[in-house]
Amino acid sequence: MKFSILVLGAPYSRQSVQTAYRFADAALQRGHSIYRVFFYHDAVNTGNALSQPPQDAASLPALWTELGQKHQLDLVVCISSALKRGVIDPTEAARYEKPAANLAPGFELSGLGQWVDACLNSDRVLTFGA
């Protein structure tokens, strides 16, 4: 089955980013495919490469980057949710004259149209809430 995943919760505040990761990993291991993962609302912080958890906790951005690279996943961070929360890629950092960019490898910034497209091209969509 072809899934798309909407993630809403903030990493390290809500369980949903972790749960979404475990779902994606399990689905891929069972031979399902994931058309797109869309990080929206507070979940955009999952794409923040500057996040540094304590040594005994997993790095959620790194986990997603690794899973994405292993399975060629389309990991999209909603641009309008992300910019106001300080998650930014080099192109947007240049456009808005910000001193740095921090989008983690394997993620891309894009618009809500990417999520609508994902809904139209997947067998099922799942929301991991806030």
Partner: protein, 118 residues
């Protein structure tokens, strides 16, 4: 045409999720999809007439919901049991909102291609 149902559960202010849910609904309609919104639980407070988000330094959620028909979103539903639980009546809600009994909601959800919960 695929149909999208947005289920809105949160009160209008204090969290940006309700607003971002409405932004997504509007974007979905802008991509020529059929969109319905169902307000349930504390989400029904989003529909109240006379709210003033600016007093909380927020954009007004009611103004956004009132603009929905301009984007061809006519299907705005309030959960009748959530209204009853809160002592609210349909007349207190924004124009264009319809009441939906729980059984009718089950049918709406079953008939929608994509259901998104906020």
């Amino acid at each position: 045409m695929p149909s999208f149902l947005f289920v809105c559960r949160k009160p209008p202010y204090g969290d940006s999720l309700p607003r971002e849910a409405l932004d997504m609904a509007l974007a979905t309609a802008a991509f020529d999809q059929q969109v319905s919104l169902f307000f349930t639980g504390d989400g029904v407070w989003q529909l109240l007439q006379g709210q003033d988000g600016q007093r909380a330094d927020q954009k007004d959620i009611a103004a956004l919901i009132s603009a929905m028909p301009l984007y061809d979103i006519e299907a705005l539903y309030a959960d009748s049991s959530s209204l009853r639980d809160r002592g609210l009546r349909l007349e207190q809600l924004l124009p264009g909102v319809h009441l939906l009994e729980p059984s009718a909601y089950a049918t709406l959800a079953a008939e929608s291609d994509v259901v998104l919960n906020f």
